[in-house]
Symmetry: C2
Subunit: 328 residues, 2 copies
């Protein structure tokens, strides 16, 4: 029996958030809304150009796992930091919300990874990531017992960027399926999909039970001219796909079953960082609790709405309270 709902594996990052005008993105050559990988020197340069910032724990799968815990789920996280101050911050913020986290920190090599986030006045976020210690995650960090204990293994596509993490990804997926568990994947970013398209296609077809993607990502995966064309591709290839469309809500396809779910209303969109991560959190807690796929989508929309209504990628209001009868 699985005594955990979800185990997430991802790049462990601390977010460095700053507000700026669109002109700043242009001046820095940043592609709005996307995630770009940089080396340490480039990250330092960009940081020096950024305005005053706030540091908050982040990492795509880590945000999702925190969301699962906030819904009352039993959740663990696997990802690599260094034994430095930002690594301690990352660890604290997971444990403080009841997430299990035991990946040993690196004791040498690069510092804890960080994601420099520029939020523009339209609430869009643009990411520049220095992977740092997170790229040191490897197969040795995958604890078989832990993976076998969770009903769902959740993996972020960003893991495909660092080679050792990609290996860890495959090892974890193999263990989960060997134990009869479900494997969920988020495609993370259209450029990330572009860098690993063939591998992702094969994965989705053979090894992924639940796929998360936004419109740009699913179109990038199938090089599809529009959303519907991508939808037709993915529904033949993956048991469950939850496709998010920002303010247009989400579409969930599972074979012949299709749900079109509206976005949850938000008073004011402040910062879209973490929207996809928290959608996945709601969807996964729904699956864990055995609610229908439409309700899974509504739980996702609810969690995404909470996180885009404030600065930062982790919920500030306990999601279990917001979910109410959706999870009852």
């Amino acid at each position: 029996m699985a005594d955990l709902d979800v185990v997430g594996v991802g790049n462990a990052l601390v977010d460095v958030l700053s507000q700026a005008a669109d002109a700043f993105l242009v001046a820095q050559g940043l592609s709005k809304g996307a995630m770009q990988l940089v080396d340490e020197a480039h990250a330092r340069e960009l940081y020096a150009a950024m305005g005053p910032a706030v540091e908050m724990s982040g990492g795509s799968a880590a945000n999702t796992i925190v969301g699962v815990a906030s819904f009352g789920g039993r959740a663990h996280y696997v990802g690599k930091v260094r034994d430095d101050q930002l690594g301690e911050v990352f660890r604290h913020d997971l444990r403080a919300v009841g997430v299990g986290y035991g990946t040993p920190p690196a004791t040498s090599g690069p510092a804890t990874g960080r994601c420099l986030i520029v939020v523009t006045p339209d609430a869009q976020r643009t990411l520049t990531t220095y992977l740092g210690a997170s790229s040191q995650l490897g197969p040795a960090d995958i604890d078989r017992d832990l993976i076998e204990r969770a009903g769902i293994l959740y993996l972020e596509g960003y893991l495909f960027d660092p080679p050792a993490a990609q290996q860890a990804f495959h090892v974890a997926a193999g263990i989960a399926h060997g134990a009869g568990r479900k494997v969920a994947l988020t495609l993370s970013d259209p450029f990330c999909v572009g860098r690993h398209r063939d591998a992702f296609r094969e994965l989705v077809e053979r090894h992924v039970d639940i796929l998360f993607a936004n419109e740009a990502e699913i179109r990038a995966l199938y090089e599809a001219s529009d959303f519907d064309a991508a939808l037709q591709q993915v529904r033949r290839r993956c048991a469950v796909a939850a496709l998010t469309r920002s303010e247009h809500g989400s579409v969930i396809v599972a074979g012949d079953e299709v749900h079109v779910v509206a976005a949850h209303p938000v008073k004011a969109v402040v910062d879209t960082t973490g929207a996809g991560d928290l959608y996945a959190a709601g969807f996964l807690i729904g699956l864990s609790r055995g609610v229908d796929l439409g309700t899974c989508g509504r739980l996702g929309s609810l969690a995404a709405a909470e996180v885009i209504s404030h600065v930062g990628a982790r919920p500030q209001t306990p999601l279990a309270g917001l979910a109410g009868r959706l999870l009852a």
Copy 2:
């Protein structure tokens, strides 16, 4: 001629902000609204008990100096961090707003200091400070040329806690007065006043031109039974005193001159961290620009109102824009 408006000297700290219910303060034995000094072990214990947190640069005088810069003032800061990640964050956030900052970081000894801040639902903040590297600030860090260049030297009372910083305080004040500059002091905290009452009284009487204090602090200084009794004491002893009274505004006394200034209206008070620091910023920029003392107080109220309307102790909206004709 002074080519800088204000140089601030203080304990350089990174804030670690978390929301909690009042019961948390009780369980942790924290005195609501006050600042308590702790050693590293105690800080670690409290941090482990705190919920997810956000890291932001802080430090009382540093917040004030950032406020002065936000008003368009030419400002420098003196305070000690270590050469670690949080120290880098502190340095970045000062320079990013145009504050000059050249104090060499400590290359050994304790880590960059931090202030654990618990914000309760009533927006009150309770501080627990681990001074860390900030306590290594000493007379050697006081650059005579820099102090002589500034029209006003601004010192925080918290500097009296670490002995070497107290020495640095006296050295800086001596240089400023020697060059014909003004010396401003904030009393910081009623318990801090209690720890150093005699020294503060002597300072105020002999070496301080502009004193900032809230009601609890000025009453603690003179062991006065009420605000008015404290007011009568301070007006005979200090050229200018700006006494803040939270939502009741502030009273400014300068010999026979008295101004009673209303608090600036705020839609919703979110987090009072930094209210006093930013009041001082507004007041000091007013003095630097030669406006009358009543207008100095109104500039202080304006800056305090901005900072209590969001989480964190530094302005999120350029104060020069808000000041409008008050500074024109």
